[in-house]
Subunit: 119 residues, 2 copies
């Protein structure tokens, strides 16, 4: 796959010009793959409800997911794992319980994700 123009990893720079494009340059393959992985983690209603439960309470125990989500315990574990591997939540094991919270530094992103209305 060739890259005719030398647009390797150009960061998003503010263009205040008239008729400025939405983005300065198309993203490269690595960035696209990385972003796709993040959004894939958000592409499931169960995981979105998980995120919103965590975001609303600040901290949620794994056991407290089973009832509101109406999913089995292995399924809940599966989804928390995916969210954690996507870098969106962190698990804090205290005794037999694991408490989940939004990863530090990602609160703004998560809030934006959950509030993304048609605007």
């Amino acid at each position: 796959m060739k890259d005719p123009k030398g647009n390797s990893d150009v960061e998003l720079t503010e263009q205040i010009d008239c008729c400025a494009p939405l983005t300065a340059a198309p993203i490269d393959d690595a960035a696209a793959a990385e972003l796709a992985r993040t959004y894939a983690a958000l592409a499931d209603p169960v995981r979105l409800k998980m995120l919103s439960l965590i975001a609303a309470s600040g901290e949620v125990c794994s056991c407290d997911f089973v009832e509101p989500l109406a999913k089995s315990q292995p399924t809940v574990s599966h989804h928390t794992r995916i969210l954690a591997e996507a870098g969106l939540i962190d698990g804090d094991k205290r005794g037999r319980w694991v408490h989940w919270r939004v990863r530090s530094g990602r609160e703004g992103f998560v809030r934006g994700v959950l509030g993304a209305g048609p605007a």
Copy 2:
């Protein structure tokens, strides 16, 4: 604290309050399903590159996707359809060509999606 439609910039509003939740309440099933559909459309590197190509150029013909994406014409058509059904792009048929643009009103969302770094 109500959350207005303030999804302009994903900005880090410091949570100085003690124990302030990220969101007021967990999202309901319908909202979760709707959001999941949107993010599912973004969960593919080919579609993200498409979006970035459109966002960078303002308007892209379907035929101009085949080469930079290194995908067959049916595959390109498949992906444009998914992005359109997700309400992210619109196709403008002029003669034999279809020109794609970011849907009006979704520019901010798309810009945020493509520039979603860890902040």
